[in-house]
Amino acid sequence: MTHDDGDRPGAKDDGSLESLARRLQAAKTRRGGRRGGAAGSEGRSEAMGAGMRVAVELVAAVLVGTGIGIVLDKWLGTQPWLLILFFLIGCVAAFLNVYRLGQRLDREAKERRAAGQAKGK
């Protein structure tokens, strides 16, 4: 956190709106900086959440695919071919889901960064 004297009341304070605007701006920059500093721990818990989401996503689609395969196999009596086929489809779907989640998280992070920069300026 940097303190330049421009944002201290008293120092160079001529009471005009211009100096008020300058002090406000400096205060805003400082707050923005502080928020950026806090993003360290916040980012960690968010990253943990993202990891958990990826893990669940990866398992869920494989489970669903395998389940569909088992049910169809029982119904049509084609053990084990549809199970194998739908297991593979489930794997592909899982990676697709993870890819989409990654894109989504990426976009969100970019938007947050852009919003943070706009606030900081």
């Binding site: 959440g49 958990m52 669940v56 689609a61 669903v64 695919g65 569909i68 489809i89 779907a93 697709l96």
Partner: protein
């Protein structure tokens, strides 16, 4: 001493059996009623003043309202406003279930997969029906990316179908896993306190921030559960 998994046991309070069906009113059902009653009471009491300048309690209730309203605006768009009551109810119910579960000695309804899956399945079926009623057969274009060559449909359609069907599973497993893991962890660490005697102070100190983290997770998971429901609703309304 109670084992770490005993807290998840379902015990019937009032046994009701109709034919072969076991419809007992269990502790799980009791805590679901508590979540509904508690949230109704909380919001009712908070908003009883209805002042223009809100009191602390009223601004708490208004904060929840605004969180959900922002969530719908950002993730669904203006068409999502019609579904606000449902999304709000969902968020408050999951939030209260999670938080009531943090009260020592209580039962966490959301730590049972069947409860979260029932919620997720209801959302999934509802959202799919909304999509079908809105777009008719065009809804099926959700399963085929726009602009792909037609012969890739043999691979893409099953993959997209499985991906779509995995949504309620991932939605419910995430909430269930987070709540169960958290409660087991708390119980195991708390068990160490009794076992270690005087050195139990160490796990006790560790337990305090862990409880705070667990409360944070309870709120965060309710938020994520609701936000993903919003995302699914968006897909059904806009078809990508």
């Amino acid at each position: 001493m109670a084992g770490p998994l005993e807290q998840f046991e379902i015990k019937p309070i009032i046994a009701i059996e109709i034919g072969a069906l076991d419809l007992s009113f269990t502790n799980s059902a009791a805590f679901m009623v508590a979540a509904v009653g508690g949230s109704a009471l909380f919001l009712g009491l908070c908003m009883s003043g209805r002042a223009l300048v809100p009191t602390r309690w009223q601004s708490l209730a208004e904060m929840i309202y605004e969180v959900v309203a922002n969530m719908i605006r950002d993730n669904v768009g203006s068409e999502g406003r019609a579904y606000f009551p449902f999304i709000f109810t969902l968020f408050v119910f999951v939030l209260f279930s999670n938080l009531i579960g943090m009260v020592p000695g209580s039962f966490t309804t959301t730590s049972h997969l069947i409860v979260t899956f029932a919620l997720a399945a209801a959302i999934f079926v509802g959202v799919t029906l909304i999509g079908i009623f809105r777009h008719g057969l065009k809804f099926l274009s959700l399963f085929f990316p726009h602009g792909a060559p037609w012969w890739t449909a043999f691979i893409l359609v099953p993959v997209e179908l499985v991906s779509y069907l995995s949504r309620p599973v991932s939605l419910s497993v995430r909430l269930f896993a987070n709540m169960t893991v958290g409660h087991v962890l708390l119980k195991v660490i708390a068990g160490f306190i009794a076992l270690l005697g005087i050195f139990g102070a160490l796990p006790f100190l560790f337990l305090i921030p862990l409880t705070a983290l667990e409360i944070g997770i309870a709120v965060l998971q309710a938020y994520i559960f609701t936000i993903l429901s919003c995302v699914y609703l968006h897909d059904a309304l806009h078809l990508h």
